[in-house]
């Protein structure tokens, strides 16, 4: 990355001269930085001893990471200088040796396998694309074409995906675990679509979206706890309360510019969480609220084996055999319907004056203001509507979990939802789905890795941003164009 001269020489395939001193120096520098990075934190571990904190040296891990960085940097440097084939062979050999032969320590094996594997992959990609390094612009264009194709294909993908999601619980693979993951994914897709209204359409960076999720969840939990109201009464109430809080919070701060707005919304998110923790007489404090009632079948039937007085049992009503899975399936359809409502709303509102005003504000605030768009009202509308959907999702979350506590509404949740929107490509509805599968689905699939999961999650966010700074399926075409939208992209762009 630091050697523009080499990328230039790599463009001409005949030039075979390798700048060994430069490459080695570069790799050496990288290794030195790795030494400084790992020496205190990796090399020395604090351990709890009965007499207090103790310390333990781990020199082998420091050496391993230095060697890894040195060889990795060297490999990348050589790949860039048209030596991809030898590097590929060597890296594969390293990985193979690490896998097959017995090693004195586990660390050495890890170094050989992981390092060799990554470098081999990089070399293989270089060999297949035939170019040592695509420029950023070229890569962007290439990915943009893919994104546009996906946007086009959405017309066909979306119905298939929706039908697939709808018949999933009826298929034999739908056990409890699969449905739980499906519900989780759909919840985040709904939240992502909700936040997309604020971030993707109106262009406001909201770092505290989880606050409205929390308002929705606590609205339902508290209304059910104190007044015994049912889920179906509380769902609209929770949405209204969340929208109200959105207006209350939004009104003073919507005049602020981008980053100030972001940090104030973050502050509001924290304030709501702190209130939930500290107002323990009302909210149960850090212990949260448990025993939140489960939803009934539209107030007609209950999902328990022996329902309370005046309620029919779901399985009796439909003549089915009792199964605890019925409730889960019902929850799954509930969240699927809620998520689709959000999606449908977004797709329709984009064609209305409101949605077009949002897109105009996102592109150029001053220009839209001078065309007579009321900035504050438009932003407030976006904020309140997104908050309402957050509130719906929140009360669904409360009824699904049966237990909520402020722990569930920390900043990291806001960050994850925002990451879904931005990674997917702001404003792209299908992008949210793809990003949710990546961000929530992948870590869920690797649950055994426990601690390393979040480590990889953080690194993954960085890597995706480096690879696709505008998001995986970014597109910012206006939904409606003058003259009937003759541009080819605009046809599928509405999704």
């Amino acid at each position: 990355m630091t050697m523009p001269s080499h990328t230039a020489s790599a463009a001409a395939p005949t030039n075979r001269a390798v700048d060994w001193p430069g490459t080695l120096r570069d790799a050496g520098l990288a290794a030195f930085v790795a030494l400084l990075l790992t020496l205190p934190l990796v090399g020395l571990r604090t351990i709890d001893r009965p007499t207090g904190l103790g310390i333990e040296a781990r020199p082998d891990e420091v050496i391993a990471s230095i060697v890894l960085v040195f060889l990795g940097r060297l490999g990348l440097g050589l790949i860039r200088q048209n030596l991809a084939l030898p590097v590929l062979v060597l890296a594969l050999a390293c990985a193979g040796v690490g896998l097959v032969l017995p090693m004195p320590t586990q660390v050495l094996r890890l170094v050989l396998v992981a390092g060799g594997g990554i470098i081999a992959l990089r070399a293989a990609i270089t060999l297949t694309t035939g170019r040592s390094k695509l420029s950023q612009a070229e890569r962007d264009r290439r990915m943009d074409r893919v994104a546009v194709q996906v946007q086009h294909a959405t017309k066909y993908i979306a119905p298939v995906a929706i039908i697939g999601a709808a018949i999933l619980p009826l298929t034999p693979i739908a056990d409890r675990q699969i449905l739980d993951i499906g519900i989780l994914l759909l919840t985040y897709i709904m939240l992502g679509w909700g936040l997309n209204i604020v971030v993707g359409l109106a262009g406001l960076l909201d770092l505290g979206y989880v606050a409205f999720y929390a308002v929705g969840a606590y609205s339902y939990a508290l209304l059910a706890h104190y007044f015994g109201l049912s889920f179906w009464v509380c769902l609209p109430l929770a949405g209204m309360l969340a929208a109200l809080s959105g207006v209350l919070l939004g009104f003073p701060v919507l005049r602020l510019r981008g980053d100030y707005f972001a940090i104030v919304t973050l502050g509001f998110g924290e304030i709501i969480r702190i209130i939930l923790v500290n107002w323990y007489q009302f909210t149960g404090g850090p212990n949260g609220i448990s025993g939140i009632p489960r939803p009934s079948f539209f107030g007609i039937a209950d999902f328990t084996r022996t329902p309370t007085e005046g309620m029919a049992a779901f399985h009796e009503l439909f003549g089915l055999e009792f199964s605890s899975l019925h409730r889960i399936v019902f929850m799954y359809y509930l969240i699927l319907a809620l998520a689709l409502v959000v999606n449908l709303f977004t797709l329709r509102v984009r064609k209305l004056p409101l949605g077009r005003a949002w897109e105009a504000l996102r592109e150029d605030e001053i220009a839209s203001a001078s065309l007579g768009i009321n900035r504050t009202n438009m932003k407030l509308a976006a904020f309140a509507i997104a908050a309402m959907f957050g509130g719906f999702a929140g009360s669904f979350f409360a009824t699904r979990q049966g237990f909520i506590s402020p722990e569930s509404f920390t900043f990291i949740e806001s960050a994850i939802i925002l990451a879904i929107v931005v990674l997917g490509g702001m404003g792209s509805q299908i992008g949210v789905v793809v990003a949710t599968l990546l961000v929530i689905g992948l870590p869920e699939a690797f649950r055994e890795l426990a601690d390393y999961r979040m480590l990889a999650f953080g690194m993954g966010m960085v890597v995706i941003m480096l690879w696709r700074p505008r998001g995986l399926l970014a597109h910012r075409d206006p939904t409606i164009l003058l003259h009937g939208g003759r541009k080819p992209q605009s046809a599928g762009a509405a999704r």
Partner: protein
């Protein structure tokens, strides 16, 4: 009155720490216009490096306290700076010409990564440390007692501020830094190595955050891998409060927030102190959107 003075000094030392972290935010925001979300984690790394250095030199048999403190300070500033540099190099530099949200998301990812990195390496449990610099200074006939650590924090922060102001205002490095803040392209045309200056900005911010981390370790005697988030948010609040891009503003904002927290905890109760801080931030931004010492930004069409 005694109680007031006691809280005042607590607030000042806390504010000094927030101010030191806030300078890193404000400088980075001033020069590349992004919220360096991982800066709170850099401060956390600083605290951990100081702790590990103390344990390591204890194991080596160095027990003379001044030398130990000096080594802790040097090590934590050095190693933390390398972290600051690396974070910029890996996660922000490739995104310099990208849409504004991309570096922010990358920074949030980096922050999550660093937190979990520390949790995996050093364990999730909080790390206690016995007081290295015990003792109190009693004032006003023993009614007010100020621990030496808090005093040292205030003095050290003042010294660093003086040195830093000289660095920014008088040296060629500082001049180049200010030039890049004004106009990166123009500064580049005039022979300033912009990439290097941006890297150095991150290094300086990280070094100051490391000092803050070490002082927190000394004052409270306990750290864990999660301390970076709240301190980071509050310090960014301090930077916004003082006016983003303004170095004296960052310090002022830090002190204001430190004082509010100390007095709120002292007179009202510690549960709601964070709410007080954020409410103040909102109020300031509504009535004075550029912060206390910030320059008004002219919107160009």
């Amino acid at each position: 009155m005694d109680y007031f003075v006691q809280q005042l000094i607590n607030g000042l030392s806390l504010g000094a720490i927030y101010g030191l972290i806030a300078i890193g935010y404000t400088m980075v925001y001033g020069i590349i216009g992004m919220i360096n979300f991982a800066h709170g984690e850099i401060y956390m790394i600083g605290a951990f490096v100081a702790l590990i250095t103390f344990l390591a030199i204890g194991a080596l048999g160095i027990t003379w306290v001044p030398l130990a403190l000096l080594l802790m300070l040097a090590a934590s500033m050095l190693f933390t700076s390398v972290y600051g540099w690396t974070v910029e190099r890996i996660a922000y530099r490739p995104l310099r010409s990208s849409p504004r949200l991309a570096p922010l998301i990358s920074a949030i990812g980096m922050s999550i990564f660093l937190q979990n990195y520390m949790q995996i390496l050093q364990g999730a449990r909080s790390k206690p440390l016995q007081p290295i610099l015990p003792g109190n200074l009693t004032l006003m006939d023993g009614a007010v007692s100020v621990s030496y650590v808090r005093l040292a924090t205030i003095v050290l922060t003042l010294l660093l501020m003086v040195g830093f102001t000289i660095l920014i205002n008088r040296t060629s490095l500082g001049r180049a830094q200010r030039a890049c803040e004004q106009d990166k392209k123009m500064a580049g045309l005039l022979g300033v190595n912009v990439d290097r200056i941006i890297s150095l900005t991150f290094v300086m911010g990280a070094a100051l955050a490391a000092v803050a981390g070490m002082m927190v370790l000394l004052i409270y005697g306990v750290i864990d891998f999660y301390i970076g988030f709240l301190a980071g948010v509050k310090s960014f609040t301090a930077a916004v409060l003082g006016g983003v891009g303004s170095l004296p503003g960052a310090m002022l904002g830090g002190v204001v927030i430190g004082l509010i927290e100390a007095f709120w905890s002292g007179y009202v109760g510690s549960e709601w102190k964070d709410v007080a801080t954020f409410t103040l931030l909102v109020l300031v931004l509504i009535f004075r959107p550029t912060g206390l010492l910030g320059r008004p930004e002219i919107e160009k069409v």
